[in-house]
């Protein structure tokens, strides 16, 4: 196993190995929920102890939060993670 690991490490370093990660897409309703609650990005950022840019990036879908931040957001709004974040499987992948 170690040999395979070393070979893959070396190939990755040389850029020869390009593995497409089979992740789906994570969408969210953060902007909608924030506006419904009449909260500014700055206030939400301060409450969650993240930068305002992070909130902006989350709303635009440019950045996916860590599971901890996702929990913090869900608890802040008193909702479940699934109500805010929607995970969509890539087409062609089997849905678990």
């Amino acid at each position: 196993m170690l040999d395979i690991f070393f070979v893959s490490a070396i190939l990755t370093m040389s850029g020869a190995l390009s593995i497409k990660r089979g992740y789906g897409e994570l969408k969210n309703r953060l902007e909608e929920i924030r506006k419904l609650n009449d909260i500014r990005q700055e206030d939400l950022a301060a409450a969650l102890e993240v930068s305002r840019q992070t909130i902006g990036s989350l709303e635009n879908g440019r950045y996916n939060p860590s599971i901890i931040l996702a929990f913090k957001i869900a608890r802040y709004f008193g909702m479940s993670i699934e109500e805010i974040f929607i995970y969509e499987e890539e087409q062609g992948n089997e849905t678990v």
């Binding site: 690991f5 370093m13 850029g15 102890e49 993240v50 930068s51 992070t54 990036s57 860590s66």
Partner: protein, 145 residues
């Protein structure tokens, strides 16, 4: 509230300034120096300027932050922000990739220029340190995560 260190940076920036000035003085006093004395002033000037610049800016920044609690809180959030953390790590990873390729190109160029073997071997040694440290951290995190 967290207080950012100022005194240490002031001390180090003073040390940097002294080193910088000492380098300049050495340059003026021994213009025809040979051996170690020839390079020492330049090392003093370079290291001194770096230490002074880095610590002086940190001291000023920390002094301003300590005087303004809201700014301090914002600075703490910016430093701990997970997106900023990820951005910093991605930037470091990209810089590492570039470094590896540029370093390899320099090695090749030096070899083609028929630079002396000990210089090439030193560069190869440094290159291998980068590669082995990469593999070391790969294994370390592979076990940890």
């Amino acid at each position: 509230m967290k207080q950012y260190k100022v005194g240490r940076h002031v001390f180090l920036s003073t040390l940097g300034a002294v080193l910088f000035i000492a380098g300049l003085v050495l340059m003026l006093l021994f213009p025809d120096a040979e051996g170690i004395l020839m390079t020492l002033p330049f090392i003093c000037v370079g290291v001194g300027a770096g230490v002074f610049g880095g610590n002086f800016s940190s001291a000023m920044r920390n002094r301003t932050i300590n005087k303004n609690p809201q700014l301090a809180k914002q600075a703490e959030i910016e430093a701990k922000d997970e997106r900023n953390y990820m951005i910093r790590n991605k930037a470091k990873a990209s810089a590492y990739n570039w470094m590896i390729f540029v370093y390899a190109a320099i090695l090749l160029a030096f070899t083609l220029m028929q630079v002396e073997a000990y210089i090439i071997l030193t560069l190869v040694g440094v290159y291998l340190i980068f590669i082995f440290s990469y593999v070391y951290y790969l294994l370390k995190y592979y076990k940890e995560m």
